[in-house]
């Protein structure tokens, strides 16, 4: 039983590793304004509360790696109540990558569905 749960978790994690970057890029592209981690997590939660695909804490390292790759840029803004917040926005390279990734995603969906439908 535990082994099956572990295998499911592992499968979910492997899927998330690619899709999280795609989802985050897409959110920041659609938003059209800089957003900070908590805002993004809340937006995802509000949109699909029934599908907690991954822990919200796991979005942050992905945001950071997208920034390292030049697909996002960020700046820190002080907040009145708590610690300063890091706002992320999509870059030109990020938009180009997103367009390509969406194509790849569409192809992947078709490919996988073809097999699942038998």
């Amino acid at each position: 039983m535990t082994e099956a749960v572990d295998a499911n978790k592992k499968f979910q994690k492997e899927l998330n590793s690619g899709t999280a970057a795609l989802v985050l890029l897409s959110i920041l592209d659609v938003a059209g304004k800089p957003m900070y981690g908590y805002q993004i997590a809340k937006l995802i939660e509000a949109k699909r509360p029934d599908l907690p695909m991954m822990k919200q804490g796991a979005f942050y390292p992905v945001l950071r790696s997208l920034e390292t790759g030049g697909l996002l840029e960020s700046y820190v803004k002080p907040s009145v109540a708590g610690p300063p917040r890091r706002y992320y926005r999509i870059t030109h390279e990020g938009r180009e990558a997103l367009a390509k990734w969406v194509e790849i995603w569409d192809l992947t969906k078709v490919f996988v569905d073809d097999f699942l439908k038998g």
């Binding site: 997590a41 942050y60 950071r64 790696s65």
Partner: protein
Amino acid sequence: MILDIRTYLEELKVELKGMDVALVQDALSDAEEFLTTAVQDALESQPGSAEAGVLGGIIDRYGAPSEVAAAYKETESRFPRLPLSSRPSKSKKGLSGYFGVISDLKAWGAFLYMVLSLLTGSIYFGWALMGGSISAMSLILIIGIPITSLFLLSIRGIALLEGGLVEALLGTRMPRKPLFVTPNLGWIDKIKALLAESVTWKSLLYMIVQLPLGYIYFFVSAGLLLFSLSFISAPVLELVIHKPLEIWRGDAFTPVWLLPVVSAAGFFLLALTLHLAKWVGKVQGRWAKYMLVRK
């Protein structure tokens, strides 16, 4: 059961033990940003509840320290940080390896850092000296305490900016934002923490030392570049513009047969300059990390 944000951060720190110090700092500040905002939100929507009461649900969604640490470790291993200047250069041996440095972005990044450090070093030193003296003079009055605290806080801010410069140009991983003192502390405790942290004083010392270093870096790098470029362009200078190179005595022109040798020596010196810049960049990166990053 974790009842406050501080405990969560401590547990996360333990989980990240052994990882790059800058990565640990990033993970801690990300968690602090999220949990603080989430707790504030929850307390606003459920008046009368306490932090301990709402934190459990928030951590459940954010991830336990072990889960979050695993996410950082995994992302770091899949997408290692490779800023423009730290992309690995193909290692070649022999002459092409020696001259290959001319097309190495990392070497040029380090060179740019050396040139810029005259400006940044002067600004840091000026700020440290001015702020330091004003703080010292005002300390005899009660207003001295807030002035000194603001000055020390500004030093931490400048340390962060310098960290950004070091990461972008030298490729040394530095934290993106500082780990702020626990938000629940009062102002007096925040000031105490600022004074007690060795990184505050190390950053101040770093800023002072950057002035002499900046002068050395600038004059060595700019001087070597100037020599290299004038040697490289010697044939054009002497044969086309008719301007002697002035490396020989008087206004003598270089013998024509020697011009290609001088030009080649220029390329050799340029590559040497960039090798030196790369080495300085590496040492400076380590020094900056030691002095500016909170352990």
